[in-house]
């Protein structure tokens, strides 16, 4: 019978705690404890910043987030108009939604207390139900912590000074690894599809690329775009403007990914093999198409797939329209266009080259011969500046200049070229001139950031040593003794804010006249349509406003049988809109002929 004195008495020292201050938080639960600075509590959503991309909803493994319409928020391009609603019966406050939010609008707050006897009250729309949450944000993602990849995989390009030595394609294209990596950045929200005039299935084909399934990507792309390689190289890519990732980083290189995909199919046979289109039995309808530009080709391709007999009349020796003759070869090599035309021809589309409507064949004949007619003639005629000396020798329209060059001819431009304008044509003309060995200067009325040309093009031009003089309004061309252009005089302009809220207007500054020397001046301030081939009986009936055909949403003009698209019908003046027009016209023609409405 031993006795452990220490073991009996030592525990009694615990009783000294009686006199100590209790650790209990007295105020809880009446005043809940303030959570720490990084606590993951209830959600808060900045409704104005949120674009409703739904990435939070996608990442949520609990399917706790619904995207729902919210009062006072309208959808627009780049904003779905939906906002996340969190089911607190699902949420586990892991914060993944915050980490993947591309805009950073979603965050978690310090609030964590909600108790109710009604289980149906656990659906919360952050930002709507807790507008006061903004002050209580505790867990948010920064560009550093975000799980979005904000950095674009850089596109391999020729060095600026190497480029001007030849007409070799500047952009080298992604290799497979780069393409997969770039495609993996996509969060597949689909906001881009709305911005794309053609509504291409962008998330789907990017996902296919990311999964290493290039053939599927090609198939998905060809579903509504028969000229993807063209788009992959020269598209104005409005999709990238609204890309969710672009809010805090570089947009996904959607255009380059498309380009990568199309480059995986090396020739027309391969395209046919990969796309493996389902060509339907001929249905006996015949459709005539005027102009083998993007819109015309699109109409022909999809109608051909549906069993229509399509014939294209093209004035020039090659198909492609402006993409063939207007876009310089370092941007869009001829081979890749040929490949696509060849594929379209393989599907069964007939193209009559060197057949100018109105000259070689009359429009009336076409109109009577076919069940439906599509006009996709584009804007071949350039606008003129309307200033003194414009008709001098050496003053060339940039469109004509590019046509000649692309046709393999030479144009004498000397060694000092001035390009007037800020669109893609102007930049193209400038860069082509640089490749011909000239020292090029661009005069543009507004600021550089106002230029309608692609920023990549502008940067490329600057890399190639092209000077851009912004806010310069040409007023006069001076001739030399031979009647050739010698110099250009221009006025500097101030940008004056437009009272109506439009973009600022350039206003010339008196007395700021500057004269620069030039051996050639290339005017590139826009083009217009030329519908002289329409006989009077048609031009009376067809409504044409501001140089464009008036069409309905199916591209049907005021004449039932007559459809129009491309530059001749829309104001966007880019390839993808032309393709979109063509695609809609296909529906219109099909509805008209097959379905009969």
């Amino acid at each position: 019978m031993s006795f452990d004195l220490k073991g009996t008495l030592k525990p009694l020292t615990a009783l000294k705690q009686f006199g100590k201050k209790p650790h209990t938080l007295v105020d809880v639960p009446s005043i809940p404890l303030e959570a720490s600075d990084h606590y993951r509590g209830f959600h808060y959503n900045d409704l104005d910043e949120c674009i409703g991309c739904g990435n939070c909803s996608t990442i949520c493994q609990n399917q706790a987030i619904d995207m729902v319409p919210v009062d006072g928020i309208e959808g627009k391009k780049g904003d779905s108009g939906l906002r996340p609603r969190v089911d607190h019966g699902r949420c586990c406050w892991c914060g993944l939604c915050v980490e993947v939010c591309p805009t950073g609008s979603l965050s978690l707050t310090k609030d964590y207390l909600y108790v109710s006897d009604d289980p149906d009250t656990f659906l919360w729309t952050p930002g709507v139900d807790n507008p006061e949450g903004k002050e209580r944000i505790s867990f948010f993602s920064t560009e550093e912590t975000s799980l979005n990849d904000f950095g674009r995989i850089p596109m391999p390009e020729l060095e600026g000074m190497d480029r001007v030595k030849s007409f070799a394609e500047v952009v080298l294209g992604y290799n497979e690894v780069q393409a997969r990596a770039e495609a993996s950045r996509c969060i597949s929200c689909g906001l881009c599809t709305e911005a794309c005039p053609e509504h291409m299935h962008i998330p789907e084909y990017i996902n296919a690329i990311a999964r290493g399934n290039d053939a599927d990507a090609v198939r998905i792309i060809y579903d509504n775009n028969p000229l993807p390689e063209m788009c992959g190289k020269v598209c104005t890519r409005r999709c990238e403007d609204v890309c969710a990732i672009a809010h805090r980083g570089d947009p996904i290189a959607i255009r380059w990914l498309k380009r990568y995909t199309t480059e995986t199919v090396k020739n027309a046979d391969m395209i046919k093999e990969v796309v493996n289109p389902d060509i339907q039995e001929p249905n006996g309808y015949k459709v005539g198409i005027i102009g083998a530009g993007p819109s015309g080709l699109t109409v022909a391709y999809y109608l051909a797939l549906k069993g229509f007999d399509c014939t294209i009349y093209e004035a020039h020796a090659k198909a492609g329209g402006m993409t063939m003759y207007g876009i310089p070869k370092y941007r869009f090599p001829e081979e890749s266009l040929d490949k696509q035309i060849e594929y379209i021809q393989k599907i069964g589309v007939k193209i009559h080259f060197n057949t100018k409507v109105g000259k070689d064949i009359s429009f009336k004949e076409i109109y009577s011969k076919y069940d439906a007619v599509f006009i996709g003639v584009g804007f071949p005629k350039p606008w003129t500046l309307g200033i003194e000396g414009e008709d001098l020798k050496g003053s060339i329209q940039a469109v004509n200049f590019l046509y000649e060059i692309n046709n393999g001819k030479t144009v004498d431009i000397g060694d000092k070229v001035i390009v007037i304008g800020g669109g893609n044509v102007a930049i193209d003309a400038a860069r082509v001139s640089a490749r011909l060995g000239a020292d090029v200067t661009i005069l543009y009325r507004r600021r550089v950031q106002d230029m309608p040309a692609d920023w990549e093009e502008i940067e490329g031009a600057e890399d190639e040593g092209i000077h851009i003089i912004p806010q310069a309004i040409p007023v006069k061309f001076y001739p030399d003794k031979k009647g050739h252009v010698k110099a250009v005089e221009y006025l500097k302009a101030d940008m004056v804010a437009d009272e109506k809220g439009g973009r600022p207007k350039p206003v010339p500054v008196e007395g700021s006249n500057t004269i620069i020397e030039a051996t050639a001046v290339l005017g590139a301030i826009g083009q217009q349509g030329d519908y002289s081939f329409l006989e009077e009986e048609f031009s009376e009936k067809v409504k044409i406003e501001r140089g464009r055909f008036v069409v309905n949403e199916k591209q049907q003009s005021t004449l039932d049988k007559l459809f129009a698209g491309g530059d001749a019908a829309n104001r966007s003046a880019d390839v993808i809109s032309a393709i979109a027009d063509g695609y809609m016209a296909v529906k219109g023609i099909e509805d008209l002929l097959v379905k009969g409405n």
């Binding site: 019978m1 525990p11 009694l12 009783l15 705690q17 009686f18 100590k20 209790p22 650790h23 007295v26």
Partner: protein
């Protein structure tokens, strides 16, 4: 007639006092325990809420008559002990049913309760209850030995079996029995640890082992009765100790102070102790406490 009325009145008053004080003590126990455990703890009157709530619960468990009897037995035991134990020195307000030989009677009646409990618990069919009862009885066998030894020592030493006699003795000499019979007191106090069933002797209901043992099938009103009986019984036991060893009390305040001091012993020891295993508990009681009991008897016989 007058006497019967007075007795009834006294019984009622003593029950109310015992109930109130007992419940308050348990509340204080929780409060003090909480403070040692670094927290605020419930208010001292928390146990009144608990009892009231248990009383207001609907009870719809039927395991048979004996289950009803269990708590009743305990209650009867508690009240009986209370009535026999003199509450104050002069029984003016609390005329009790004390008589010669009540000490011996008490020894019996205090066993009566747990036995009833055993019957009730056996009826529920819950194996935990059955094991709990076995444990309770084993433990009782343990602490009864020093307890009986202590009482026997007192009886031998002062040649009486009446509590009142012992109290009067202390009042006359002015010397408390805890000083004149220290061994008996030690044995009795150590036995009291077992009687109160606080740690380390809470083996009967040990939640981690038996999920509350005999009480596991008793909720609501059963528990209400048991809890009330427990608090009354606790007060009765404490009063008995005060009467026997600490010279009784002349008024209620002194009684409350003395009983509370006594109550602190099992309570504080409980806070800092884990639980014994059953055989360890019995071995404990048959160790030092029994030795003290033996010494007490030796002292009584030879001194």
């Amino acid at each position: 007639m007058q006497e019967i009325l007075q007795y009834t009145w006294g019984a009622l008053v003593s029950f109310v006092v015992a109930f109130t004080v007992g419940i308050t003590y348990m509340g204080l126990n929780r409060k003090i325990t909480a403070r040692v455990q670094n927290r605020i703890g419930p208010p001292w009157y928390q146990n009144f809420f608990d009892v009231l709530k248990l009383g207001s619960k609907e009870t719809s468990i039927h395991h048979g008559v004996m289950q009803h009897m269990g708590p009743a037995f305990i209650m009867v035991t508690a009240v009986m002990s209370l009535l026999i134990i003199p509450i104050l020195n002069d029984n003016r307000f609390f005329p009790n049913l004390n008589f010669h030989g009540d000490l011996v009677f008490l020894l019996y009646i205090m066993v009566f309760g747990p036995l009833g409990m055993a019957l009730g618990a056996g009826q529920t069919g819950n194996p935990n209850s059955a094991i709990g009862v076995t444990r309770g009885l084993s433990q009782m066998v343990g602490f009864e030995i020093p307890w009986v030894m202590a009482l026997v020592a007192l009886m031998i030493q002062y040649k009486t079996t009446s509590i009142v006699d012992l109290m009067n003795l202390q009042a006359e000499t002015g010397r408390w029995l805890m000083f004149t019979s220290p061994f008996a007191f030690l044995a009795a106090v150590l036995a009291m640890l077992g009687m109160f069933r606080y740690a380390p002797f809470d083996i009967v209901g040990a939640p981690q082992e038996l999920a509350s043992g005999p009480m596991s099938e008793n909720g609501g009103k059963y528990l209400f009765v048991m809890m009330s009986a427990g608090s009354v019984f606790a007060f009765a036991k404490l009063t008995l100790y005060v009467d026997l060893f600490m010279g009784g009390a002349n008024n209620l305040i002194i009684l409350v102070v003395k009983t509370f001091i006594l109550y602190l012993i099992p309570m504080l020891y409980g806070i800092v102790s884990p639980r014994y295993r059953t055989e360890q508990a019995i071995r404990y009681f048959w160790g030092w406490p029994s030795l003290f009991g033996l010494l007490a008897i030796l002292q009584a016989v030879f001194l």
